[in-house]
């Protein structure tokens, strides 16, 4: 099975259970919003998906590859944008990208070709020589998205990538990533607590206090009601 599969995954920090038997599947080329309030377990799930942590309870498959059995092959298929900024602010845009390319075994002409392609894809080609520090918040995020595409991943994981951005930047970045899934066939898992970033045809997985409350296509879950109302009533009922 391609795309992204999470099967019966649980994780605890000592006594505190952060994820409790979470299962969902995102088909290849789908955009799935992982919706949950702060503390729902989204970042923990991202840490497991990127193998910053490992768990013995449950299975994770990235593009059909079991991350526990073949961690390096699975990681090679993932592009990640973490909630925390991960740019080296004193390096240029190009240097940030070439460093990341090298971490994925790309160098020389191959790396240059990919860097040019992703910068053009994200409309940032003219900023290659600028220092990351000189970019505004929206462009920094855009650069991080460009970076996570360099090694041509098949699954994109974005952990609250629009936090701290103004409305215009949020809209632009949300649209870019939707395009990546609809036009380029990338599987996207987009963690957020902002319901206006989710389209009616997007897939949604609602996480609350470590449990998956519901999953499916947004319009089916809401039944035509605003997503925010559905989300609030679900999380209130579960509290």
């Amino acid at each position: 099975m391609t795309g992204l599969t999470v099967r019966n995954v649980s994780y605890a920090y000592g006594e505190k259970r952060a994820l409790d038997d979470v299962s969902f599947h995102v088909p290849q080329g789908a955009f799935c919003a992982l919706l949950g309030p702060n503390g729902a377990g989204k970042s923990t799930l991202f840490s497991l998906l990127t193998r910053l942590f490992t768990t013995r309870q449950g299975e994770i498959e990235i593009a059909g590859i079991d991350i526990a059995k073949h961690p390096r092959k699975a990681l090679a298929k993932i592009g990640v944008v973490f909630q925390q900024p991960t740019l080296d602010l004193d390096l240029t845009v190009h240097r940030n990208l070439s460093y990341f390319a090298a971490l994925h075994g790309l160098s020389g002409r191959q790396a240059e070709g990919r860097i040019t392609a992703v910068l053009e894809r994200l409309d940032m080609a003219e900023r290659a020589t600028e220092r990351a520090r000189d970019l505004n918040g929206g462009h920094r995020r855009r650069l991080e998205i460009a970076r996570c595409l360099i090694h041509v991943p098949s699954v994109l994981l974005l952990d609250e990538p629009t936090v701290g951005l103004d409305a215009a930047s949020r809209h632009a970045i949300t649209k870019h990533v939707h395009d990546l899934s609809s036009q380029d066939g990338l599987t996207v898992l987009w963690a957020t607590h902002l319901t206006d970033e989710i389209g009616p045809d997007d897939q949604v997985a609602i996480l609350h206090r470590g449990k998956l409350l519901d999953q499916g296509i947004c319009r089916d879950i809401t039944g035509g009601a605003p997503m925010q109302d559905t989300f609030l009533s679900m999380t209130r009922a579960a509290s």
Binding site: P71, L75, A76, V80, F82, Q84, T86, A102, G105, L106
Partner: protein, 261 residues
């Protein structure tokens, strides 16, 4: 294999660029041992009489004695500085970027270690050059012999920093490391005074100094600077390095999770 070497090169370049950018860090790393050499050693010169002990074949001044210790000091501080930047990287997220690349985690950590050791060695040679200008020079052969000794000592002290960085949750806790790791390691060693001098004050303190891996790193450097080989110091330094590296790899094991700040 090629992927691993590409990553190593990129990590070395990144560390070198960071180092070049942070000129104040370079100056601080150089000024610290020079202050000890020029001010502290001048003051203690009269107070401390040093008899002839290997590798020295004649009476030496105190300034000459502490040069290897100050080389060790540069590496100790740099190892800690590097681990401080690892904790910073983790808080800032760039450590996540490194650890999620599709290469063995131990290799990625080792690349970081090698990068910080390279920076340490550059700092030490700069210090030795300034010391030579100041009038404290070593036999020419010593400058070549000390290179492998600096690699071993730098890797050991860098591995200690790496191990500490896996255990430290937040940057604020780093002050504790200064008090409980750097200062005891430095003062309870042969960097500033020979162990036989320490034994005159306290046999227990001498024994603690003799167990301190930093003492052995300093002695390895001291002997190498005079074209001599100290097998015991090398053995202890390598052993300590392996133990610290083992702790570091264990500390960064994904099955242990990444410490939450």
């Amino acid at each position: 294999m090629i992927d691993a070497m590409i990553a190593l090169r990129a990590i070395l370049i990144r560390e070198a660029l960071r180092f070049v950018r942070q000129r104040s860090r370079f100056v601080a790393a150089l000024v610290r041992p020079l202050v000890w050499l020029v001010v502290f050693a001048a003051g203690f010169r009269a107070a401390l009489g040093l008899s002839i002990t290997p590798p020295y074949q004649t009476y030496i001044t105190y300034e000459i004695y502490i040069v290897p210790g100050l080389c060790g000091m540069i590496m100790l501080f740099n190892g800690m500085q590097s681990s401080l930047s690892l904790v910073y990287d983790r808080e800032m997220g760039s450590m996540r970027l490194l650890l999620t690349s599709p290469l063995p985690r131990w290799w990625l950590l080792f690349c970081r270690l090698l990068a910080s050791t390279t920076i340490s060695i550059l700092q030490v040679y700069t210090f030795l050059a300034v010391a030579a200008v100041y009038g404290i020079d070593m036999p020419w052969i010593g400058y070549a012999y000390v290179f492998p000794a600096l690699i071993v000592a730098g890797l050991m002290l860098g591995a200690l920093g790496l191990a500490l960085s896996s255990a430290i949750r937040q940057l604020e806790n780093f002050a504790g490391v200064m008090n409980f790791v750097i200062f005891p390691m430095f003062f309870l060693s042969s960097a500033l005074y020979p162990l036989w001098k320490m034994a005159e004050s306290s046999a227990l303190l001498r024994d603690i100094c003799a167990l301190n891996p930093f003492t052995h790193a300093v002695e390895l450097i001291r002997f190498a600077l005079y074209g001599q080989f100290n097998a015991v110091a090398l053995g202890w330094t390598i052993l300590a390095g392996i133990v610290f590296l083992g702790f570091a790899f264990w500390g960064y094991d994904p099955a242990r999770g990444m410490k939450r700040g």
